[in-house]
């Protein structure tokens, strides 16, 4: 039986299962949090009872961190070149050499409480793209729980943009549907099924000709995005075995966002850029594109999870017995950096968004449970994926804390016998020096960040430029407060079965 037809395929959490399966899934939910806390507590324990061993471990970890930073910087630099190259490429010329007229772009725009300005800039960017808009089927997917404001916005947008595209559909996802978690996944799944019935079937559009782009409603696509996706779709050996992942920029409001928010947004972009060069470690994230046929075969997005953007990749991966991957297209889409009316509002918003993103750890029990239940996936694929995923979540939650805080712990807790050793004196010096060398990589971050910035608004002075460079000194702080801690927070919630709901990031533009 194909895995997609098993009762586990769309499991959201342990409580969806029963008996032994439930116990196994629950253990897998506990595992990532347990590993992270065990690591941190182990270092505290070693620092007290075996400070020399703790010091050896910390030195080895410092070296690992430094080399990993350099290794990832190489990937970042290469992707920077590739992004620049792809942004300068004439994709229309490339696509025109291929038979492409049959391709239809189904563009799903789920929204919740975003204002007309945000939705409009998204639609306006679609209008501005270099592509035959008659081939666009745009679905503006609202939420019934938002009441009349969502309906009014949908009507307003339909009136304004309805005739600008081949098809324009507005949907209203019914509220309080049993078994659904209110969020983007359930809304998108409802909207795409409506689009299938009302657009694809009605117009006899073959499913295999349709590319779905599910875009967060603050997404502003770059002019050749759909050409770039089309070219990759038409040239990849099997377009139904891959998802197409762009690089998320957060440029829409970057000049208005405070430094903390900019650094977190920039770091997220850099992480995606590095992963674009390591596709085996990549799962779909945020706005991306995928073949409609692939989605239809598995019944679209799960309606009972928070991280639907990455879960859809793992659904496809498991249903195709591991023969599914992400194709990084190294072409950007632009979204909003976190911005609230007040500074503290922004800080809270950044934290909550990072916690929601890092709650992607809910995919780990799903993947590992799928590996147990699906014997058709090759062992080596299971082994590699398991290692990559566990290492990814573990390092996210623990490494920044280990490098920036725990390097000094044996000196504080190690006792006087340890404190009189040369090792004790050198440990903080070595950690500090390695950290300083690793931080030199931030210069490159700064250069790349500046290279992709939109033009400085007239109301911003030259100091704003300087601030865009100096902001990177905040990285040691942001990597802990907006990286490791929300990561640990999310893992701890999953560990204790305090499952999270979908928190919609408010979109605010000054």
């Amino acid at each position: 039986m194909n895995y997609k037809n098993t009762p586990y395929f769309k499991v959201g959490r342990a409580t969806d299962l029963s008996g032994r399966d439930r116990a196994i899934y629950r253990m897998l939910e506990i595992m990532p949090g347990f590993l992270s806390w065990f690591t941190l507590l182990l270092i505290v324990f070693l620092s007290i009872f075996a400070p020399i061993a703790a010091a050896y471990f910390i030195i080895a970890f410092d070296v690992y961190w430094l080399l990993k930073t350099i290794y990832l910087s190489i990937h970042l630099r290469h992707n920077w070149k590739r992004l620049k190259h792809n942004m300068q490429t004439d994709w229309q010329k490339l696509v025109s050499n291929l038979k492409h007229e049959h391709i239809v772009h189904l563009i799903i725009l789920p929204f919740y409480n975003e204002g007309a300005e945000v939705v409009e800039s998204c639609l306006e960017a679609l209008v501005e793209t270099t592509y035959d808009k008659k081939k666009f089927a745009v679905v503006l997917a609202g939420e019934e729980r938002m009441g009349t404001s969502a309906t009014a916005l949908s009507k307003e947008m339909k009136a304004k943009y309805g005739d600008r595209f081949g098809h324009f559909l507005t949907t209203m996802h019914p509220k309080d549907k049993k078994g659904e978690l209110a969020g983007k996944g359930s809304n998108s799944a409802y909207a795409i099924e409506e689009a299938r019935r009302l657009i694809l079937d009605k117009n006899n559009i073959p499913y295999e000709h349709v590319i779905v782009s599910v875009l967060d409603v603050d997404t502003v696509v770059y002019p050749q995005y759909f050409l770039c996706v089309t070219w990759h779709f038409l040239t990849t050996p099997d377009p139904f075995k891959v998802s197409f992942q762009p690089v998320p920029f957060y440029n829409n409001n970057i000049w208005q966002a405070p430094a903390l928010s900019r650094v977190v947004a920039g770091s997220s972009t850099f992480w995606q850029m590095m992963q674009q060069e390591r596709p085996e470690k990549l799962a779909t994230f945020s706005s991306h594109s995928v073949a409609f046929k692939s989605l239809y075969e598995i019944g679209y997005w799960q309606k009972n999870v928070v991280s639907e953007d990455s879960r859809i990749f793992w659904n496809l991966f498991l249903s195709r017995n591991g023969d599914y991957s992400v194709l990084p297209i190294s072409y950007p889409v632009s979204m909003d950096a976190n911005l609230a009316p007040t500074f503290w509002g922004t800080v809270v918003q950044v934290y909550k968004q990072l916690r929601r993103w890092t709650y992607g750890v809910e995919n780990l029990p799903y993947i590992l449970f799928g590996f147990i239940k699906n014997p058709k996936i090759p062992f080596w694929t299971k082994f590699k994926t398991t290692f990559v995923q566990i290492e990814g979540f573990w390092s996210l939650a623990t490494n920044p804390i280990m490098i920036f805080l725990l390097g000094w712990l044996p000196v504080i807790l190690g006792g006087y016998r340890f404190n009189e050793t040369v090792l004790s004196y050198n440990l903080p010096i070595l950690t500090r020096n390695i950290m300083i060398v690793a931080m030199l990589g931030l210069i490159m971050s700064s250069v790349i960040f500046m290279a992709f910035l939109p033009v400085r608004p007239k109301n911003k002075g030259r100091f704003a430029n300087l601030s865009m460079i100096l902001q990177w000194v905040l990285v040691p702080f942001t990597i802990i407060v907006f990286g490791a801690i929300p990561g640990l927070d999310a893992q701890t919630r999953l560990m204790f079965g305090k499952y999270m709901g979908f928190w919609v990031t408010p979109k605010h533009r000054k």
Binding site: I59, V63, Y71, H75, H85, T421, V422, Y425, N426
Partner: protein, 280 residues
């Protein structure tokens, strides 16, 4: 443009793995104090270190006659490493201050710590007058009157109290036994001050070798490793640390001086009926 090829990435991974495998043991050995010895055909030899804390800025620290640091407001200590095991002469000096010297042993992989002190060569004595004048401020005013100084009365009362034979501060117990000071550690072994120990061997008691009978004593303000002692010919400060030499510096020379420490932070001297506060 193609993504980074798998072969290239494997190459980088292999290269960095090799660097990791080489660097980790090298860094650990370096951090422990192992150094290449150029004089011994690049053999690896064990070294140790010295950590000298001065508590003062503008002080020059010498090791075997070479300046290793001049202290500043931010950095008042020095960590000297890569020292071969052996004996080192450490000196701490500053113009117009008394010099502190210490012969310290350096052991492999261990940092030998010491805390210096440097009093002014001639500490300033500010007399606290018995009486104050009060009035309109004019020196010729007939309304000027003489009143008793309450501060003098307070300090004088302090001198009226007898000094103790046994005092204890943070588990450091000092006893005066027939003019000889015995200092012992009454706390846990884990937190014993470094001056009780040499390498990993710690003693329980140190005797202050003042060369004369100690009439009275107290802890030096802010330090539990220094004692103010009254000898027949003056008031001195001695360190408890008895690693050679046990430094003794003078506050004031002369017979008949007595001293008291007020509230653990101010030193007062008294000779005949005159009382002085001491600026060190």
């Amino acid at each position: 443009m193609e993504p980074l090829s798998k072969n290239k990435r494997r190459g980088y991974l292999f290269f960095f793995s090799v660097v990791f495998v080489i660097c980790v043991p090298v860094f650990i050995l370096y951090a422990k104090g192992y150094r290449f010895d150029i004089n011994k055909a690049f053999q690896i030899s064990e070294t140790g270190g010295l950590y000298i804390n001065t508590d003062q800025s503008g002080i020059s620290i010498y090791v075997n006659g070479d300046v290793v640091r001049k202290t500043s407001i931010i950095q008042k200590s020095v960590f000297v490493q890569s020292l071969k095991p052996g004996t080192y002469e450490v000196s701490v000096s500053k113009d117009a201050f008394q010099t502190w010297n210490k012969t310290l042993k350096v052991f492999p992989e261990i940092v030998t710590e010491a805390r210096s002190f440097s009093l002014k060569a001639e500490p300033t004595l500010n007399e606290i007058h018995k009486n104050l004048t009060s009035g309109d401020g004019s020196t010729t005013s007939p309304s000027r009157a003489i009143v008793k100084n309450p501060e003098y009365a307070l300090i004088n009362a302090l001198f009226a109290t007898s000094t103790q034979k046994v005092i204890k501060i943070r588990n450091v117990l000092v006893k005066n036994e027939s003019g000889l000071l015995h200092v012992s550690w009454t706390g846990e072994n884990d937190s014993i001050p470094n001056y009780f120990c040499e390498s990993s061997v710690c003693k329980r008691e140190i005797i202050i070798n003042s060369g004369a009978d100690v009439a009275s004593f107290d802890f030096f303000p802010g330090r539990d490793d220094l004692l103010i002692i009254r000898l027949g010919d003056g008031i001195y400060v001695s360190e408890i640390d008895d690693r050679s030499p046990q430094n003794i510096q003078n506050i004031v020379l002369g017979a008949d001086y007595d001293f008291r420490v007020r509230d653990g932070n101010e030193i007062y001297l008294k000779k005949d009926a005159k009382i002085y506060s001491v600026a060190l």
